[in-house]
């Protein structure tokens, strides 16, 4: 690229200013990389959802329990194959920072989640031991747990009738997911619903939510309305959703991540647009005599315009790629800091594509006005200092 020396000369003319602009571009794209990584993770749960599972919660709110008596009636609905139920326990292991999901499950859970992998003998041990628990592989590695260990959890929502705040579980197995990327099963702890339900001081005879396996994904909507119809006008109305909808609405409890990310990045990129736009047009204004000289030497208008535009694109893509690369390098460390509370963050291929598109778009927005000005620049006027 024979014009590279010229481009570099344009950018290096004011090293300090270019560096500052570059830094703000880098910073904006580091932020973009991080936020888009978080957004991707929240959407990941929804993307990984199975199509043959429905989740039933209370129509009122996600945290409103449903009677266990619903189970038998749900099983009667045409198209329902099997029904499991669970409850969020929210226990703490040693320290609040050690957060991981811990959930009470009914025995059908294993049938409903074929992607949950566990040795057959460990599953048997679970079904045979009231106080049994199964830990995800990563979780067990993180805390050095082995089968046979007794694991104490501090209750946050559900104190035990006689034991007070400390529940104790016997670890009988280690599970993982069929898909190694699927963090769900490798990072959670599950234990028996009957032990949980009898031990807790309130809420006996209720479930946090039901999970239903259906015979035909194509009939999902119909089956869901049939289930909800069963309990309409009762004390405990239900809201049945596909697993994907449920995961999305679960994520929405934390706010609409996609919207928040877009709003923040919109503001950041708008600021960047003003900042680099200003830098670029200032830079071109200062170089009017130089650009006029290039034209005098026979550089066509379009070439001079292209050089200015290329400068803007180079600045934006250079800073942007650097920023995204830094985010990609930093995200694993950031995930570790969260200690498994969220799945590993990464800059996805999709983030790269969107990111590069934004860089090019910003480059055009920022570069076109001064480039056009350079195109129209009259040699005679510029040389005369008009």
């Amino acid at each position: 690229m024979k014009y590279f020396a010229l481009l570099r000369a344009g950018l290096l003319r004011r090293k300090g200013r270019t560096l500052l602009t570059l830094l703000s571009i880098v910073a904006a794209f580091v932020l973009f990389g991080f936020l888009d990584g978080v957004r991707t993770v929240f959407q990941h749960g929804a993307d990984n959802a199975a199509v043959d599972r429905l989740v039933i919660g209370s129509r009122l709110s996600l945290i409103q329990p449903l009677p266990l008596a619903h189970k038998a009636r749900i099983e009667q609905v045409d198209g329902v194959v099997e029904v499991a139920y669970s409850n969020w326990f929210g226990g703490i292991y040693q320290d609040r920072k050690n957060f991981f999901p811990n959930i009470a499950i009914s025995p059908e859970y294993f049938d409903l989640y074929p992607e949950l992998v566990i040795p057959e003998d460990q599953k048997k041990a679970f079904l045979a031991t009231r106080t049994a628990a199964i830990a995800g592989r990563k979780l067990a590695e993180r805390f050095g747990w082995k089968t046979g260990d007794r694991i104490p959890l501090q209750a946050t929502i559900w104190p035990h009738k006689t034991l007070g705040n400390t529940w104790t579980f016997d670890l009988v197995g280690i599970m993982h997911g069929t898909d190694e990327d699927d963090q769900r099963f490798t990072n959670e702890l599950v234990f028996r619903y009957d032990y949980f339900d009898e031990g807790r001081t309130t809420g006996q005879g209720t479930a946090g939510w039901y999970v239903v396996k259906i015979s035909d994904p194509a009939r999902a909507a119909q089956i869901a309305s049939a289930i909800d119809a069963l309990f309409r006008n009762s004390d405990a109305e239900t809201k049945t959703q596909s697993e994907k909808e449920f995961n999305l609405s679960f994520a929405k409890q934390f706010g609409d991540i996609g919207l928040i990310v877009s709003a923040i990045m919109g503001a950041v990129f708008f600021t960047l647009l003003l900042l680099t736009g200003n830098t670029m047009s200032q830079g071109v204004r200062e170089r009017i005599p130089e650009l006029a000289v290039l034209k005098t030497l026979g550089f066509p208008d379009r070439l001079v315009m292209g050089l200015v535009l290329a400068e803007a694109l180079l600045l934006l893509t250079g800073g942007g790629v650097l920023g995204l690369a830094l985010a990609a390098a930093g995200l694993p460390a950031a995930s570790r800091h969260f200690g498994g509370q969220i799945p590993p963050l990464a800059v996805s291929g999709e983030s790269w594509i969107v990111g590069v598109a934004i860089m090019l778009l910003l480059g055009l927005f920022v570069g076109l006005p001064p480039a056009w000005r350079a195109h129209r620049l009259s040699i005679v006027d510029a040389l005369a200092g008009h």
Partner: protein
């Protein structure tokens, strides 16, 4: 080499149209070194810009290096300038971030020459103006006279037939000016370059073979 007939140039000043050149007829033969003189505001730069193809006349015909310029588009003029004209200005107009040889190389970027050939030709042009040793220096590290010689090397590098200089010594002290003028004279005598040079300075005009006087947009006297 240069033939102007009935050349007029108008400028728009606000709502007013001002005629700056009132029908110039001028012939310059190949190999001439012409000094264009006249009071400030008489239209010297305007005339020079027309000859160099930087601007187009309002009326009249301009033929330079065998080409009629008055009807060329700006893109065509740009290509024509690159091939035929070397420019030297009062304020050198070098790009400050580029080393001397990169400045000299600039016109060659428009050719299909290889990078190595471009660099070699740039160094040859610098050698011609006696600055080969300063090839890697930036304009800031050069004296005014040296900067002007780099600008002359840049004007020469694509081997144009005509050099157009607007007060090339206007910003230099007497001694340095004489060096630069001597260089232009050498280029004219030994390398056969046709030169049109605007100057205020009668001593500078002595280096030229002919003087052309402009006053209020009209050629008043031409003599040796």
């Amino acid at each position: 080499m240069v033939r102007l007939a009935g050349v007029k140039k108008n400028y728009q000043r606000g709502r007013q149209t001002v005629e700056v050149l009132h029908g110039i007829d001028l012939d310059i033969a190949s190999g001439e070194f012409v000094a264009l003189m006249g009071p400030s505001g008489s239209g010297k730069t305007t005339l020079l810009n027309l000859i160099g193809g930087l601007d187009t006349p309002t009326a009249g015909t301009i033929e330079v290096a065998g080409r009629r310029l008055e009807r060329l588009t700006s893109a065509a003029l740009a290509g024509w300038r690159a091939a035929n004209i070397g420019f030297v200005f009062q304020f050198y107009n070098l790009l400050p971030v580029l080393p001397a040889w990169r400045n000299v190389e600039l016109p060659l970027l428009l050719t299909s020459l290889s990078a190595a050939t471009r660099r070699r030709n740039a160094l040859i042009a610098l050698e011609l103006v006696g600055l080969a040793a300063r090839a890697e220096h930036r304009p800031r590290e050069l004296s005014g006279g040296e900067e002007q010689r780099v600008a002359i090397a840049r004007a020469l590098v694509s081997d144009p037939k005509l050099l157009v200089c607007d007060e090339p010594t206007g910003d230099l002290d007497r001694h340095t000016a004489e060096e630069v003028l001597g260089l232009l004279q050498t280029l004219n005598r030994e390398h056969g370059k046709t030169i049109v040079m605007v100057t205020h300075d009668p001593k500078a005009a002595d280096y030229a073979g002919r003087r052309v006087m402009l006053d209020k947009g009209t050629l008043v006297a031409a003599g040796a």
